[in-house]
Subunit: 129 residues, 4 copies
């Protein structure tokens, strides 16, 4: 199952090189996650169940500027009891890929101070149940 | 003449208070400007004519979080030879106003190192000619 | 009473114009506030007493780039029962002023959902008692 | 050869979870690079030789908040003709590691539109010559 989100690129995302700063790509991924999984995400946050990033990586293929579209397409790559891995393509929807990335997220119970099984709301959103 | 832009709020825009950080409101205004005036803006930037902010102010009325829409509506408030003032409402399109703001921008010629008359492309976009 | 803080300028603070983005000046002010008032600030945040910005303004005099120092000097300009105004100079410590700014902050009790009298810890830090 | 830089953590670096946002770790690394290699970096940028990130990864071990120190220690892990890899520890200088990371950077000649051999100034700063 694929989830695609168009990202609104901001002038402030560009750095002095005139391209979107490399760190901001991770913000694009996060924005896509938060929009696609908005309901389970806010629901979990209300119960202090945090989806914490434990690993993130990105390969940058082509710079992004203010022209043209930026789309994040993501899919579930792997799931375990307390964590899951998402894979991402950052692209323009017309054949140009800007970056490939992945993040590993753990479901963390802030009150108990430890990882817990992925909440059912999130499992459903990920297509796991 | 009014220009309205919907802003894509990002999780990273929130600070530890759980609301969009106050400084980010100015980024919302900038994003709205850059989208509405995209063509003249990029055209001017190519000629190193910068639209530099010389004054900015914002009154915050209600916090913004990840729920609901954020729209920036702006209008030209005043224009002079080398500068102009834009006024903004940040609102949800349904009667709730988050902030009122204004910015003064000067058209600055980077090569000559001084303010110059507002370029015609920008004047046209602002409805001045 | 004056409080001065040196700001660590980041490459990502620069935008495509090659200068520190105008919105980031407000982040510089916030960084200075948070460092100078760190103890009362964290103490209040622990009790969900938020120092919310209700008004902010800045006049930009000279662009900031990666060369040279950036110092924020602030002072209390005005205080009322539930709010206070800080004034700021952003400068290089050697006679060059980058910006002049001010912010109005209200002490907001998140649990009660309304402004409350400035907490004593903060009053002491501001030199009010 | 190790290079260490203390990072000034900002309130705006925290997200709604109350920790430094994961994307901001890459900004911390960039800030460390820019400060340690400030002279060759600005010198190269003046000649439109960009140090572009082509790969970045981070493992997050412990959240960072506003308390305590944040130090980035980096070292050259590998060098090739046009690119090099830096490894990083983000830590508090007292035995706590927040994250381990690496970035691959390529020396890119913007005028010629292609990677070029790492400039001598940068090689010297990296201890390669």
């Amino acid at each position: 199952m694929d989830f695609s989100t168009e990202i609104q690129v901001r002038f402030a995302d560009l750095d002095a090189y005139g391209h979107v700063n490399h760190a901001t790509f991770f913000t694009f991924l996060e924005t896509a996650r938060t929009l696609v999984f908005k309901e389970p995400f806010l629901e979990l946050m209300g119960r202090r169940l945090l989806l914490m990033i434990v690993q993130a990586e990105c390969r940058y293929l082509k710079p992004v500027d203010l022209n043209g579209q930026v789309i994040v397409t993501m899919q579930l790559e792997k799931s375990r009891r307390t964590s899951f891995t998402l894979g991402y393509l950052v692209h323009d929807g017309q054949g140009t890929t800007f970056a490939e990335a992945s993040t590993v997220m753990v479901c963390f119970d802030e009150k108990r101070g430890k990882p817990v099984a992925i909440a059912d709301e999130m499992k459903r959103a990920l297509g796991l149940i």
